[in-house]
Homo-oligomer: 202 residues x 2
């Protein structure tokens, strides 16, 4: 398999965590890319017209995206249990994944606003709206730690990847200090080798 | 069930199309909301800390989001076949859904940039990047009409909802004229009652 990859993409990280957990990483060749919200990468577009990472090319030459599809595919390929097959457990895991991905979407838009957009064109209300979405989401997780109960599934992985992205790009949010219950609850996930690993194109 | 609803949200439309197709619409009470990328709606946040529509509250009182999770849940509840259960058909349908959703993401960001953001703070390169993502995606569908082969699944529904959103908010793109093969290929989906229906909170 091949994966259009960017070392700092939290959505790529989600996929690689699932791959690592299931012993599939060695079967994935990482393809360097320069995905960017404004300057688009033609090499990705050839496989995914949206021009985004992660995009996976399977051994059969089929392009799969986005991270949710790739993670479920890898889970299936590796016989994993990160996507409960049916019932309440499935909807819970998938909704928690949506929450983690939603935190990431907000964080990425806030980052683009404050780092990519020319300074004179930045809109403080936009950034404030995105940071508030992060805040209400972390507050929810702080007050409902039970949503993180049970064996690790894609919901834990998505939330953990979103928190590591906040560590990386928004250290001033200091989420561990402001959401101590969340910090304790997610710690077993963050402590896994798959989450701690730094990755780069070989 | 209850659904946090906005009449112009294309992601809400996706969910309601699936509900209609499976005869579930009458079981869903639509909740008026004022989801907005900057001014957030506290009534949604109480059920979904991201503050986004669609958010579904099941008859068991469980909140599900986002549209992908809700659509798969409704498909399961109604015994539908819009989500192939496994194998290549599943990954194909889910990736096509990602493409439709990705077109929508780009279109919504372009719309926020040109209609919500104060005029003095607009960045033409940002809008151009989003419109280019729409263009490369529609070009892909134009050149690979076979990706829309077969019985209607969630991929067709997502692509159809994205095209109807372009009709609604970006009529100048004139996608039917520029992508005639796509227009012909998606026509059977667009012709379904579920796609044509206008919806409003009762």
């Amino acid at each position: 398999m091949k994966l259009h990859f960017a070392p700092t993409s939290p959505y790529v990280r989600k996929c690689m965590v699932v791959a690592d957990e299931l012993g599939l990483s060695d079967r994935i060749t990482l393809l360097a890319s320069s995905a960017h919200p404004v300057t688009r990468d033609a090499s990705i577009i050839a496989n995914n017209p949206l021009g985004k990472v992660p995009t996976l090319i399977t051994d059969d030459g089929v392009a799969l995206y986005d991270s949710r599809v790739i993670c479920e595919y890898l889970n299936d390929l590796g016989g994993g249990h990160f996507f409960p097959a049916h019932g309440a457990a499935r909807w819970h895991a998938l909704t928690l994944q949506s929450l983690g991905d939603g935190i990431l979407d907000a964080a990425l838009l806030a980052r683009y606003e404050t780092m990519v957009r020319p300074e004179a064109l930045r809109w403080a209300d936009w950034t404030a709206g995105k940071l508030d979405a992060i805040r209400t989401s972390l507050t929810h997780l702080e007050h409902h730690p039970d949503v993180l109960d049970g064996a690790m599934h894609i919901g834990h992985i998505a939330v953990a990847c979103s928190l590591l992205y906040l560590d990386f790009r928004f250290p001033d949010l200091n989420w561990r200090q402001h959401y101590p219950t969340l910090a304790r609850t997610i710690e077993p996930t963050l402590a896994r080798e798959s989450l701690k690993k730094e990755r780069a194109v070989a």
